[in-house]
């Protein structure tokens, strides 16, 4: 801002013809950048995209930052006896299921019995499966807000089983949580295996003397999803209500008042076993994203990865966007980078930034998935619930490479699985302080490679850097144009010309804010409505609102001619607003801001009134108009949603698009994702403004 102010002054002086002095170098640089903003904006944007593509190359190998963790330094104490304890539990549960079909809480009792045999303190916790309702006021409030007392129905509730092993010589200040989501009614054979793994481990932990933190094993009743039981347990753990709850009245299992705690939770591991892997070996997938792109400390992932790869021989992977693996353009990019890397290597053997094209593709597919899930802002598993309480947690999903009835391999699987958990727990147990050494802001490109915030923010910074430059130069242009049209003297520059445009921009942002809040009121509409109907309702009310806004004089961007505002100033203010919005969002959720910038920056930069372009009939301007039209079309959230769906590989949806979009948005606000706010309050207004500029009657 300072730069263009000085630019003005500079201009004024030259116009006056007074003897000018040489401005300061930094000012000159600013002037230079602003004067050549079209070139630089293209260069910067291209560099931003290039930097994003370069990220897989710049990924560093992970390392254990906290020395106290010492993963794998202790020999595993797990014996065959412990593993057979696990097998026994699995067998008992299977037999039990065969004999009793879908019987109340008997399976829970069985697991509870096993736990108490291992000298653990056992209790049961009931919870209600109700989901979270969107409430605009509770958006960023803490997890405490969802202990609202609602009408409780006895018909449906879940029961968690929890066992606590007290550290023999510990002081009970801290604990480590193990979670196994388990569907007590219709859990499959593979789900049983997760119980087997953890019970083998539990059997060991009840004997060992090295524990310094208590161990909590939570068997979460995943009948109503994986997340809800864990969140309910955590809510009860941290924010219990001492008032009467109706839940206790419907009593089948005595859960009243025996909830036990074990100090501050240091870390949590969620173990899931599902479906057979396509390979022969067992595959371990790590899920780490919590809500709004929050990640657990990288050290936790490192420890698990190190132990799984170097000790237990699991094939570790993190999520990837599968469709990118076969994309040809990515392959070409990868090959180019590889070639450049080779050339650089011949020039200087110390330059080792080239990686093979295949690795590059893998890395970018993982990176894309990492960006996508962070940008989405929805936790990828039950571990997300822990992040709300500042607990580092990850989900380990193991896909065993054997059929569930193979006894020999099952025993081996229990042994290896629980050894992995034992090693991880032992490392966390070693920690005197909470996780703080390693990174919290990072993107993964493979289980053992990461990009830290210092590197990945360059791409975003480059993308966004062009915005203030273009805004400044447009402002100058607009002011010049105005001066010409009104034949006013230099006063024009110093006047508040941008205020009119700002009013319009503000009006549209206000509209965006209202549209963001609308779903809450639509949800309040009585009667059952399909998601599609709701989205139609939302769309019509929003359009009506838009029309109302447009008709209000002074606020509408189309009424600009009356006030003599020209589109350049409007665009300049729009770009400033987008810049501020993107920068704010990058603090809250970087990935959202990055993807948003990829969409919004070209749209904002290219937006120009199409009328003059059509009138001029020159190829260049027609092409520009066409590009901006395409970008604006893609930039519409619904269209972008459809395109992403197609990219992710879920197939393009036809008429049900509105419904799907609604459900998607519903999930966003149910999970309190800041992405929803971003779409409603930054992206949508800026997109609308771009549309206004596009159809500006200039």
């Amino acid at each position: 801002m300072a730069a263009d102010n000085r630019y003005e002054e500079e201009e004024v002086r030259t116009d006056d013809g007074s003897p000018i002095t040489k401005p300061r170098p930094i000012v000159r640089l600013g002037i230079f950048l602003v004067a050549h903003s079209p070139v630089f904006s293209v260069v910067f944007s291209a560099a931003g995209v290039l930097a994003l593509l370069l990220l897989p190359l710049l990924a560093k190998n992970t390392y254990i930052s906290e020395n106290a963790l010492m993963p794998g330094s202790a020999r595993s104490m797990l014996s065959n006896r412990d593993a057979s304890d696990g097998s026994k539990l699995v067998k008992d549960i299977k037999n039990f299921r065969l004999n009793h079909e879908g019987q109340g809480v008997e399976v829970q009792r069985l697991i509870g019995k096993y736990m108490s045999e291992m000298v653990a303190e056992v209790y049961y916790q009931k919870f209600q499966p109700e989901g979270n309702q969107f409430h605009p006021l509770h958006f960023f409030s803490g997890p405490a807000s969802y202990t609202l007392l609602r009408n409780v129905s006895c018909a449906s509730y879940g029961v968690n089983v929890v066992g606590i092993i007290r550290a023999p010589r510990g002081d009970g200040k801290e604990s480590i949580v193990l979670v196994t989501p388990y569907d007590f009614i219709n859990g499959g054979d593979y789900e049983d295996l997760s119980l087997g793994v953890v019970s083998s481990l539990f059997s060991l932990l009840s004997r060992v003397t090295w524990l310094s933190k208590d161990i909590i094993w939570l068997v979460a009743d995943s009948r109503y999803g994986d997340y809800r039981p864990v969140a309910a347990w955590l809510a009860e753990y941290h924010t219990p209500s001492f008032k009467v709850s109706d839940q206790l009245k419907c009593d089948e299992l005595n859960t009243a008042d025996n909830f036990r705690r074990a100090g501050t939770v240091a870390a949590a591991l969620v173990l899931k076993v599902d479906g057979r892997s396509e390979r022969f070996e067992d595959i371990l997938s790590i899920y780490a994203d919590a809500s709004n792109g929050q990640m657990p400390n990288l050290d936790l992932i490192n420890v698990v990865n190190y132990l799984a790869v170097h000790r237990q021989g699991f094939h570790v992977k993190v999520e990837k966007v599968v469709s990118l693996l076969s994309s040809s353009w990515l392959k070409i990019v990868g090959e180019i980078f590889e070639a450049v890397g080779k050339v650089a290597h011949t020039l200087n053997p110390d330059w080792k930034f080239g990686i093979p094209a295949a690795e590059y593709i893998e890395g970018s597919a993982t990176l894309a998935s990492s960006l996508y899930s962070q940008a989405f802002g929805i936790p990828t598993g039950p571990h997300g619930a822990f992040r709300d309480y500042q607990v580092d947690a990850i989900t380990l999903k193991i896909s065993p490479g054997f059929p569930p009835d193979s006894k020999a391999r099952q025993h081996d699987f229990f042994l290896r699985g629980s050894q992995l958990l034992e090693g991880t727990i032992r490392s966390v147990n070693n920690l005197l302080e909470k996780f703080h050494q390693s990174f919290f802001l990072y993107l993964l490109t493979s289980p053992s490679k990461f990009i830290s915030v210092g590197v990945y923010m360059i791409a975003f910074a480059l993308l966004v850097a062009s915005l203030p430059m273009v805004a400044a130069s447009l402002y100058v242009d607009g002011c010049k144009a105005l001066t010409k049209s009104t034949h006013n003297s230099a006063e024009n520059f110093k006047s508040w010309k941008w205020l009119d445009a700002a009013k319009q921009v503000f009006a549209l942002h206000l509209l965006g804010f209202i549209v963001t809040l609308l779903p809450y009121f639509i949800c309040q509409v009585p009667g059952q409505h399909s998601p599609r109907n709701r989205s139609i309702m939302w769309g019509t009310t929003s359009s009506l609102l838009l029309v109302t806004f447009v008709t209000i004089p002074g606020c509408s961007p189309f009424s600009s001619r009356l006030h003599g505002t020209n589109w350049a100033i409007l665009k300049s203010v729009t770009i400033s607003a987008a810049f501020i919005g993107l920068c704010l969002m990058s603090i809250i959720n970087f990935a959202t801001a990055e993807i948003g910038a990829l969409l919004l920056v070209p749209t904002c930069l290219l937006a120009q009134p199409i009328k003059p372009a059509l009138r001029s009939r020159r190829v260049k301007s027609l092409l520009g108009a066409f590009c901006s039209m395409v970008l604006v079309t893609i930039g519409f959230p619904v269209i972008f949603f459809a395109i992403t769906k197609g990219l992710v590989g879920e197939g393009l949806v036809g008429l049900s698009l509105g419904g799907e979009f609604w459900t998607w948005l519903e999930s966003l606000w149910a999970w309190k994702s800041a992405t929803y706010l971003y779409i409603g309050m930054v992206h949508l207004p800026c997109w609308l403004l771009c549309v206004c500029i596009l159809f500006h009657p200039s």
Binding site: P19, D171, K173, F242, T264, K434
Partner: protein, 642 residues
């Protein structure tokens, strides 16, 4: 009545004996040692070592003692300590399985780390000074960081909530103090036989520290002689309580593990400490069914007591005492020798189960809330299957509960947010709160303290107390070395003033300090867990960053300020013009031309637009940059090739 008379007579005899000692200038310092063993319901064994050292009031020997440790007597004299207790504890006392109602647990279940309290016999204004000096002295004596209790932010002066009503009482605890042998060794040095002989020889360090609970305690009190010119006597009581897990070889999970002293400690008792007046080993068995105990008089019945179908002792007890719910077997170790060491063993034959006496209410404490701003501390009291609860006041059966708690200053407690729920119903303060005494904390100066007395109905199922707090910010140099661990809130003390724990023996006790201690009525008390509050911690490299950034900003600011002040633009212009007018010779002219070229000839072509200038400048600049980069790359290439 007869009993009363008898005890009076006994007292009289004792008194005359003491008086005769005093007047006959024949002061006797007494030392006695005892070990109490007690199997616990959860397959563990409790061993409680008890040493008592009495120094009678005297001034004949000056400052010399026969048995009594000089360090302690000097401590008492110097700081005028009236009563003091210091405990080092590791592990948690399991109130559910190890009992909470007997004198053993109410006296020896201590909070994790170090706890110290002392009552002084000095004017009120000097109490704090004495306390500070005492902490330093003890710190040196016991190789522990007790001196951290010196700071006024770590101790408090309880008025009535602690149990001892005195305004000269100071209380402090260090939950993070690690306890190990270096604390035990100085403690053993206070014993006349150290750990060389007698019962204390059992204290094999590995086995003691392998235990599940380990608490070493030192309690001293002064006994006023009541006579002019005579100093006060001191009673020093040292106890070590350990809970051990006997090695189990038996496959059966139901039967209790059998053990012997040798298997528990890896050592045997080979004789008493010759300086001890009495040295006994006690074995307390709880919850034995009463059917076989009808007639204890006959020899066979007595024999049955220690060798029966349920269990068997390896040695014949010298005496058997009966209590309401337990038996106490007494062994004198005087007979043991090197050739015939005393190795008491207990063998269980049948699975047996019993329950310990539990405190009227089980207390647990936890933190509520999340985030780095605020939270709440909750104390939950739950009913237990305790036998003794009745206490009628005004026709209503009530349980009185005292809660005493210290809050460090960085936990800024809002006392008005105190909420009390009884049986999940919110109660107003006046309904259940009998007394409350609060002293708020002062930032960085003193810790807060809360004492409250609740009166709950006997049929109470659960009671919860919650109080909210804000997390404070510490100054950068106030953080401890491992700040990211979080900060501890010391244990709260829950005591039941109307419930008294004492063992009520039917038989006469004889002269045993341990048993008389147990017979004394003491109120039931229990400590809650230590809490860990994660506070916001800065990134500790931040000061460095802050310094660098501040310095940069300062440099920029002062640089430009000086520039603005110093520069005279008019003068410069005139100077430039005069320079341009002058003729220069040779190299100088070339140089100035070159400079002018680089700068884009600012003076001559002032009217041309800056855009043009900058574009010219940019192309040249880019060319130059490329030139330099090319040179650098070439140099790099050729230099590394060799």
């Amino acid at each position: 009545m007869a009993r009363l008379v008898r005890s009076w007579i006994l007292l009289l005899i004792l008194q005359s004996f003491l008086v005769s000692i005093a007047f006959g200038s024949k002061e006797v310092e007494e030392f006695s040692e005892a070990l109490l063993l007690k199997p616990l319901p959860d397959r563990k064994v409790l061993a409680h070592f008890h040493f008592e050292n009495r120094a009678p009031p005297s001034n004949s020997h000056g400052r010399h003692h026969h048995l009594f440790p000089k360090a302690i007597s000097q401590l008492v004299q110097k700081f005028r300590v009236k009563e003091m207790e210091l405990s080092f504890t590791q592990g948690r006392w399991n109130h559910e399985h190890w009992g909470g109602f007997d004198p053993l647990s109410s006296m020896n279940a201590k909070p994790v780390g170090v706890e110290l309290w002392a009552v002084f016999d000095v004017p009120l204004s000097q109490v704090d000074t004495s306390w500070k000096n005492l902490t330093h002295a003890l710190s040196g004596l016991f190789c522990a960081s007790i001196n951290f209790l010196e700071s006024s932010t770590s101790y408090a002066a309880p008025t009535w909530g602690f149990g001892t009503n005195s305004d000269k009482l100071r209380y402090g605890s260090l939950p993070r103090e690690a306890v190990c042998t270096e604390n035990l060794t100085p403690w053993l040095k206070l014993l006349p036989c150290r750990d060389k002989d007698g019962i204390s020889a059992l204290m094999n360090r590995p086995s003691v520290y392998r235990g599940f609970y380990h608490s070493q305690r030192l309690h001293l009190s002064t006994v006023e002689s009541g006579q002019e010119g005579l100093g006060s006597g001191i009673v020093l009581e040292q106890t070590l309580t350990v809970v051990l897990q006997p090695d189990t070889t038996s496959v059966e999970r139901n039967t209790q593990p059998s053990w012997s002293l040798n298997s528990l400690f890896g050592r045997k008792v080979v004789g008493r400490c010759v300086l001890a007046k009495s040295s006994n080993v006690y074995l307390q068995l709880e919850g034995l069914s009463g059917h076989e105990l009808k007639n204890v008089d006959s020899e066979i019945e007595a024999h049955k007591l220690w060798k029966n179908a349920d269990f068997e002792l390896s040695l014949k007890p010298d005496r058997v005492l009966r209590e309401i719910s337990s038996f106490l077997f007494i062994f004198d170790i005087e007979k043991s020798s090197d050739s015939e060491p005393f190795d008491l063993g207990l063998t269980w034959k049948r699975p047996s189960k019993w329950l310990c006496q539990l405190a009227p209410l089980h207390a647990s404490r936890f933190l509520m809330g999340s985030g780095n701003e605020r939270g709440a501390i909750a104390i939950l009291l739950k009913e237990t299957e305790s036998q003794e609860k009745l206490n009628l006041t005004n026709g209503r059966c009530t349980i009185k509960v005292n809660i005493f708690q210290i809050f460090p200053w960085y936990v800024k407690v809002y006392y008005h947010t105190l909420q009390i729920f009884v049986d999940q119903q919110k109660k107003t303060d006046s309904e259940v709160l009998k007394k409350i005494n609060v002293s708020p904390s002062t930032d960085k100066v003193s810790s807060g303290m809360m004492e409250m007395m609740l009166e709950l109905p006997c049929e109470v199922k659960s009671a919860a107390i919650s109080i909210e707090y804000d997390k404070g910010f510490l100054h950068i140099d106030e953080y401890p070395p491992d700040a990211n661990q979080g900060f501890d809130i010391p244990s709260a003390l829950i005591s039941f003033p109307d419930h008294h724990a004492s063992l009520d023996f039917k038989e006469e006790l004889g002269n045993s300090p341990l048993l008389s201690k147990f017979k004394e009525k003491s109120s039931v008390r229990s400590y809650t867990e230590v809490l860990l509050v994660p506070l916001t911690t800065p990134d500790f490299s931040m000061p460095y960053n802050v310094i660098t950034i501040t310095c940069t900003i300062f440099a920029l600011y002062f640089g430009s300020l000086l520039n603005v002040i110093r520069r005279r633009i008019g003068e410069e212009e005139r100077f430039l013009k005069s320079q341009a007018g002058k003729k220069k010779g040779g190299l100088k002219q070339l140089l100035s031309r070159f400079i002018a070229k680089i700068r884009g000839r600012p003076i001559e072509e002032s009217s041309s637009s800056s855009e043009l200038q900058s574009s010219v400048l940019s192309s040249k600049l880019i060319f130059k940059i490329i030139l330099v980069a090319g040179a650098a790359a070439a140099w790099q290439y050729f230099s590394t090739d060799k």
